[in-house]
């Protein structure tokens, strides 16, 4: 099964998602800051917490839907880079590209690693942030 996950996922290498655009809503930023337990004044209408772009889910990953049975996923880590502040009222367009797919043998059998490069661009066409996410599928 886990070898099949690798075979299937390696076909997706280089694939990019359809752009999806989100409004940066002040109330959403506040709820996100409350959820992480961060009382910084700046997250109350000025800018957003460093990991707020987590809420801007690329168009292929609807995490609100149940996952298909049989595939388990672990998040291995993320790398954020910031170029410009995100502010309430901005409109952020998200594109995720599959940058790497590789496998490793581990305790749980064949584990497939997938690295996604995600870009966040504002309404003026400025790249505001990027994120590289590594996920493990088994």
């Amino acid at each position: 099964m886990s070898e099949a996950i690798y075979e299937s996922m390696s076909k997706d290498l280089g694939k990019a998602t359809t752009p999806i655009t989100y409004d940066v809503e002040k109330g959403h930023v506040k709820r996100f800051a409350e959820a992480i337990g961060d009382e910084n004044r700046l997250w109350r209408g000025v800018t957003v917490p460093p990991t707020f772009t987590r809420a801007f889910i690329p168009s292929d990953e609807d995490e609100s839907q149940p996952r298909p049975p049989g595939i388990r996923v672990l998040d291995a880590g993320s790398e954020y880079e910031y170029f410009k502040a995100i502010q309430p009222g901005d409109r952020i367009t998200v594109v995720s590209k599959i940058a790497e797919v590789f496998k490793k043998e581990g305790r749980l059998g064949t584990m497939t690693f997938q690295v996604k490069e995600i870009s966040f661009t504002n309404q003026n066409g400025d790249l505001v942030a990027t994120r590289r996410d590594t996920g493990i599928y088994y």
Partner: protein, 142 residues
Amino acid sequence: MGQVYFEDVSEGMEIPTLEKNPTTRQLVQYAGASGDFYEIHYDKDYAIGNELPGPIIHGALKNAWLGQVVTDWMGEEGVLKKLSCQYRGMDEPGVPMYITAQVVGKSTEGGENLVELKIEGKNNEGKVTTPGKATVALPSRG
């Protein structure tokens, strides 16, 4: 907390530790705010069915805390340039976490005063489950 300036920072310096006391309720709150509704973070039966001891903390929530320890310290004039973390171990609600960070480098590049930080998310046994790094630009007194 007041503003920290580039001149005040030296290599090896520890910044204030952030303590977190996560609950399952907080994981549900985070699921709602982030849109990550993977059941291993709040459904005990589902988590156990996935060979986990019980619900585990979203990696991205721990990543948020690694960010918070830095933004709390750098002050409103500090600018976060990079933030990364790895999830090496799982953490569970009901167990406190401590986020520590240390200055590991200082440089001036392209007119920016950059500080490199090594960050560690630890459980209550001191095990580093969530190591990370950050780069910030700080204002200068000059």
